[in-house]
């Protein structure tokens, strides 16, 4: 085999390789696109896991998916209903703003507690923090993938 045949062979393989390189770029673009869509589509932002609930509504151990805005209280119009004798009908609101979660007390009788500290107006909270509404204690956790 002379040099020309070899270089011709290399050139021809290079063509196929370049086609596949182009193809790889496309598939990478599609994959990224698909992943961002899957991540953004209808998935809960986080969840609240019920640690303790003496009256059983909600059940201890229950996992509550969270939206960007979640109202908490005894009234049935709340997105998270805590049917506890020590909870107010409009008790608190849990929101996701930018990159952080915030909890705000809505003038409840017995107060909203974050890690044992009373929430006066609003407080930021992170994953693993414990929230108490009435007698119900809940932990903020990441959404399950």
């Amino acid at each position: 085999m002379d040099a020309f045949t070899i270089s011709l062979w290399i050139l021809r393989i290079a063509f196929v390789v370049f086609i596949y390189l182009f193809f790889f770029f496309i598939v990478r673009a599609l994959w990224r696109d698909l992943r961002t869509t899957v991540a953004g589509a209808g998935r809960a932002l986080a969840r609240l896991v019920v640690v303790a609930s003496p009256e059983g509504r909600p059940q201890p151990g229950a996992s509550i998916p969270l939206d960007a805005v979640n109202t908490i209280g005894r009234d049935v119009n709340n997105s998270i209903i805590i049917d506890d004798s020590f909870a107010s009908s409009e008790h608190a609101v849990l929101t996701f703003r930018g990159r952080a979660w915030f909890v705000e007390d809505r003038g409840s009788t017995n107060g909203t507690w974050l890690n044992g500290q009373r929430v006066e107006s609003y407080l930021p909270l992170g994953y693993g923090d414990e929230l108490q509404v009435g007698q119900v204690r809940m932990r903020l956790e990441r959404a399950q993938v």
Binding site: L11, R12, A14, V16, I19, F22, F23, L30
Partner: protein, 470 residues
Amino acid sequence: MAVVARSLNRAGIRPRLRPREMLLLAAAAVALVAGWASLNSYRAGRLELGDLTLLTIYLAAIASVHAAFVITGRRMDQVLLPAVTMLGGLSLLLMERLPQTLAAQSFMGTLLPLAPLQLLWLVLSFALLGTIAIVVRNDGWLRRYKYSWAVLGIAMLLLVFLFGDVIGGQRLTLRIGPLAGQPSELLKVILVVFLAGYLAENRALLTGVSTRIGPIKLPPLPYLLPMVVMWGLALAIVIVQRDLGAALLFFLVFLAMLYVATQRASYVVLGVLLFVAGGLVLYELFPHVRVRVDIWLDPFADPLGAGYQIIRALFAFGRGGVLGTGLGAGLPQVGGTPSIPAIHTDFVFAALAEELGMLGGLAILGLYAVIAERGFRIAATAADDYRALLATGLTLVIVIQAAIIIGGNLRLVPLTGITLPLVSYGGSSLLVNAIVVGMLLALSDRGVEPPPLPGTRRVWLRPLRRAEQA
């Protein structure tokens, strides 16, 4: 510069970069230049790039389409254009490689051989693609006049029936003055436009059940009528026009869109049964159908006659192997005649698979898969049913056509004479597929007008609906 930007702004145009598209186009250009070098080095017997004029013109046309998208600031899909660019580029490479006398046509006084002619069509197609993608901002003109479009389509078909030229036993070509075209190419787009409108409007009715034949649940029978008409149309195309490929394409697109709109498998089963029944009858009655099926089942029964094309194509696939013979090194012609008749139209896939091998063939299949993914994604994120069905149908037209002809080349399905979209030689085919891709791009634009509010037209449907609820 600032002056230009200000005047653009005043006209409501905000340029927006499309980095992903730019990267992909650059990658495609690199691959095509490598292919060009490979072809010309083989021909010249030494390493050289060869005359890059044709490729440069092609890439410049693509670049100007990209630039037009950037300047007008359209937020459209960024993957479709590169995928189509690659297919068109492979087409140009192949046409440059094939014997130039396969199709020569004089254009404005100069005789253009195969490759420059294909380049001319490609450039016109991409210009059309870009224009449609940029200019089309609402779909009312398609949505509102669906029956008018259907009538236009059928009128075109009738014109071909009556005045068409017979070329190669098929009555496909319509000649008006110096222009010749194949209206059945455009007909497939019109079909999709009509079906999308009809199905989006009657979707709820079609999913309802009012008639039962044994275990098969059917919608109210009057709404099945268009489907029967479609089926009849497909048969008519086979009988009068002798165009098996177009008939198969229409019917498959129709069934797939029906399934997408209603999600009812029973329609598909029913359609396939009708298709098989129709096929059997046609096989018995019409010799040209019988020949097609017979050479598919056993091409070696008549290796120098009816089976010649298919056998040559199979040999070409075999010669190509995994890596291919390399561009220019295949055997598309023996002596002066091409080894596979219609190698530049129906058998482009065989030609490319011979010279680029199985790897090249798979890459081409992959490109169609990419177009399918993008198209269905555009459909999935569409603002309403009509746009979703339109995008689905347009995607299916390209993908199913590719599947039919590639399957035919590989002897997986009976060979039917249709083009490989965006690769085969031919003006009508290229222009129509460019329209399809252009409309897909326009549909993917996030800045287009929202669809009109659902109206309360079609009052004559009311009594039926009420009867159904009672």
